[in-house]
């Protein structure tokens, strides 16, 4: 190829053999695209030189959609056809969105949703027709992709898109779907905090343990990573989907109101002025020690010390989340080597100081906290597409929430605990509960609590064709597989026949993002209640199994019993059955023990009869299954 290449004026020439791949930070408020050129990764700007693309799409009648600043300008003029914060709606159904709290109401109350949509998929009525969150996200991704193609001068071969660490299966699936809609090849979905670590890791060649502290406008994420010789390992993650910079604005707003002797502001223009005054004060306090505030006819001053006091509760929640993440990894605070700040709200001094105090060292903030995620994604895209050699670096990510299966007594058996490195395959064997059971219903759940009703249901499916056997004799292997994008599939196999049923967890069953922090919170708060609930569940289960086993044993070998023994057993069964519906766990345990005792001789005689002395010391339900 001896042809000379001539590039378009104003655009960079595509380098030969350099495959074009970009990283995209698809944000709730703003989105960015980054690519590597000449060894360094940079944010790509639009024609007017701006880096941030507002994540806003305007759908006018009969015209092409407008994305970015142009759309944002329409927000006040044509709000019903101007969609903001589509990311908050990804992976949710209409009911989820309508049931959501304050954070989303402000956004979703702006729009009219099609009430007849299939499967509850949210569709917004716009002048240009129905638009789903996937379509809206696709329009934003498409705009970023064409910006990249025009700057880089070639077709994109792949993209890395960042998602919050807390995004569930459904939200991840839909992010991928959005990219596919505009013909993008998704190399990998990358967790946002991980991307931030990548941005710093490669720039500074750090080794050690890193905290990624990501405080955005409305969400908070913390991740703990370990970096060794170019391999990032995510040790644990945590966060709060309802905590962000906006909450700090709110404490200043409340303070102004109380100082000025004002009640709740209901007028929207007045509210906007109050909010702007609070935000301006918050920004100033990163530079000066005290700031003057004017609102309506009131004048006052807020000092940094006062601001620290006002935000003490918020800061405490933030630091407690950090503490839990460190605990989850079983390490101590002084083992943290670096803290990386992400998100605009980390510019606040009150945050920087609290972080420095808790970790005993100041945080890294050399890279613009609004751009660091996109830069990391750009670096990862470059590696995945093959522009960097294989041993450059690797990311080992974790699954953020526990995944499990419902067992008897409505208990959750966790198969993949949270913070397990992915990809991962875990199998566990289960057995039938009733004699002659030929089908098994499997219920896949996500969450940290012990009871099914407290976790989120992800999927249900059935395994049929189990050969009839006594209770506890069949062996069913349930396998959970989570791939490197964090997507789950589950299979169940009956081991003697090889009968298999499997399911890919479907997007519509996904977990509502705001519910995640609630799950984590309540799993901590309810640990004790859970233990009792689990204890009684287990006691009931054990009692029922013993009763069932004895009933069928009496049916087969009733002639081994004399009359008084038979009466004793019958009475003990009745007592236990009553306790099993009314009693507490200790009562059930005591009566189970009683029944075991009065039926002990019977069990021993059956054992002699059926299998000899080999199983001495086993409880009766074990014999029941072994004698078959």
């Amino acid at each position: 190829m001896a042809l000379l290449q001539i590039s378009e004026p104003g655009s960079k020439p595509a380098k030969p053999l350099h495959r074009l791949a970009v990283g995209i930070d698809l944000g709730t408020t703003n989105s960015l695209v980054a690519a590597s050129s000449a060894g360094a990764v940079e944010i790509l700007a639009d024609d007017e030189g701006s880096h941030l693309l507002p994540s806003v799409v305007h759908y006018p009648a009969g015209l092409e959609p407008v994305v970015g600043q142009g759309a944002l300008d329409q927000l006040t003029i044509d709000p019903a056809n101007t969609i903001i914060s589509a990311k908050r709606m990804l992976g949710k159904n209409l009911l989820d969105i309508q049931a959501e709290g304050d954070a989303n109401k402000a956004v979703t109350s702006l729009y009219q949703f099609d009430q007849n949509s299939r499967d509850g998929v949210p569709q917004i009525l716009t002048a240009a027709g129905l638009k789903s969150p996937v379509q809206i996200s696709a329009d934003i991704l498409g705009t970023l992709a064409s910006r990249a193609e025009s700057v880089l001068g070639g077709k994109l071969e792949g993209v890395v898109i960042t998602v919050p660490a807390y995004f569930n299966d459904a939200q991840r699936q839909q992010t991928k779907e959005a990219a596919k809609l505009v013909g993008l090849n998704v190399l990998r979905l990358l967790n946002e905090p991980t991307a931030a670590a990548v941005a710093y890791g490669l720039d500074t060649k750090d080794q050690g343990r890193i905290i990624i502290f990501d405080l955005g406008g409305g969400t908070f994420d913390v991740s703990l990573l370990s970096l060794q010789r170019g391999v990032f390992e995510v040790l644990s993650t945590g966060g709060d989907t309802n905590l962000g910079g906006d909450d700090f604005d709110r404490v200043i707003m409340d303070w102004i109101c109380s100082e000025a002797g004002l009640d709740q502001i209901t007028d929207s223009k007045s509210f906007a002025r109050l909010r702007n005054a609070a935000i301006a004060a918050k920004h100033s306090l990163t530079e000066v020690d005290i700031v003057g505030i004017n609102f309506e006819n009131w004048q006052g001053a807020l000092s940094r010390a006062q601001f620290i006091e006002l935000s003490a509760d918020l800061v405490k929640r933030i630091i407690n989340t950090c503490r839990r993440v460190i605990r989850d990894a079983s390490i101590s605070v002084d083992e943290i080597d670096n803290i990386v700040l992400v998100g605009g709200a980390t510019r606040m001094l009150v945050i920087r100081e609290a972080v420095a105090e808790f970790f005993g060292k100041p945080a890294l903030a050399e890279i613009d906290p609004d751009k660091v995620v996109a830069i990391g994604a750009g670096i990862q895209a470059d590696v995945l597409i093959g522009n960097k050699s294989a041993n450059d670096f690797l990311l080992l990510d974790v699954s953020p929430l526990s995944l499990g299966i419902e067992t008897m007594g409505e208990l959750v058996e966790k198969i993949i605990p949270r913070n397990t490195t992915i990809p991962v395959t875990r199998a566990q064997e289960f057995t039938t509960f009733k004699e002659g059971q030929t089908a098994m219903s499997l219920h896949v759940v996500q969450g940290e609590r012990e009871l099914v009703s407290d976790c989120r249901s992800l999927a249900r499916f059935e395994l049929r064709g189990i050969p009839p056997m006594v209770a506890g004799a069949a062996k069913i292997r349930v396998k959970f597989q989570v791939d490197a994008d964090g997507l789950l599939s589950v299979s169940a196999e009956e081991l003697s026949t090889g009968m298999i049923a499997e399911i890919q967890v479907k997007p519509s069953f996904g977990l509502n993002a705001d519910a995640i922090e609630e799950i984590l919170q309540s799993s901590q708060e309810n640990a004790l209640a859970d233990m009792e609930a689990r204890s009684i569940g287990e006691a009931r289960l054990e009692a029922q199994q013993l009763i069932d086993a004895l009933a069928s044993a009496v049916e087969i070998d009733g002639d081994l019993l004399d009359e008084s023994e038979s009466l004793l057993i019958k009475a003990a069964i009745e007592k236990l059955e009553r306790a099993n519906t009314e009693g507490d766990s200790s009562e059930i345990r005591v009566l189970t023990e009683d029944l075991n005792r009065v039926s002990g001789n019977f069990a021993a005689r059956r054992m002699d009869l059926h299998i000899g002395a080999a199983l001495r010391g086993e409880s009766i339900d074990m014999i029941e299954s072994s004698s078959d």
Binding site: A390, T425, A484
Partner: protein, 177 residues
């Protein structure tokens, strides 16, 4: 899958001993993930991608087992044909039961507010030290092929580990998060 035919120690090319070089384990694990992780097969065929997900999962499973002292102990006992799921009071012995009761009582008796944090800290230290010394004896029993004793110590370790988790939970509750 070929990797499944190797035991976890062979997989990472480290000697099959309970007291192992955690740094070496981690280094070999990461070295192998660099070769086998799905991120290395983004442009490969579907078959190769599948292969990579399976290999990478096995590596994660093996590393997760070996790096944790309790899981490692369970794995090594099972490799010796011991059934760790089955445990009778007889296996445990009266001395362990007494120790369990005493430790549990000292945990239960603590006040349910922040004033207990110091005492919790001391209890945590005591339990951690006991756990460490059990790990050492487990290692030497296993080396001497005293499997029944090793199994007994394993169950003691299980109990201490559980107690440690409860102490941590107690701390978290008292700290209010």
């Amino acid at each position: 899958m070929q990797t499944i035919n190797k035991n976890y120690f062979q997989l990472f090319s480290i000697p099959e001993t309970y007291q192992l070089d955690i740094d070496l384990l981690g280094e070999n694990y990461r070295g192998m993930q660099v070769e086998m992780h799905p991120d290395r097969f983004v442009n490969a065929s579907e078959e190769e991608k599948m292969w990579s997900v399976q290999r990478s999962s096995v590596l994660n499973q093996a590393y997760d087992t070996l790096k944790d002292p309790l899981k490692r102990a369970a794995y090594m006992l099972e490799r010796q044909g011991m059934n760790i799921e089955q445990v009778s009071q007889h296996d445990l012995g009266i001395d362990l039961l007494m120790e369990q009761m005493e430790l549990r009582e000292s945990l239960d008796e603590l006040p349910k507010n922040e004033s207990a944090l110091d005492a919790l800290g001391r209890l945590k230290k005591e339990v951690s030290e006991k756990l460490n010394s059990r790990e050492e004896s487990f290692s030497s029993m296993l080396m001497d092929s005293e499997l029944a004793t090793a199994k007994k110590i394993f169950h003691e370790m299980q109990f201490l580990k559980k107690l440690l988790l409860e102490i941590n939970q107690g701390e978290e509750q008292r700290l209010g998060y």
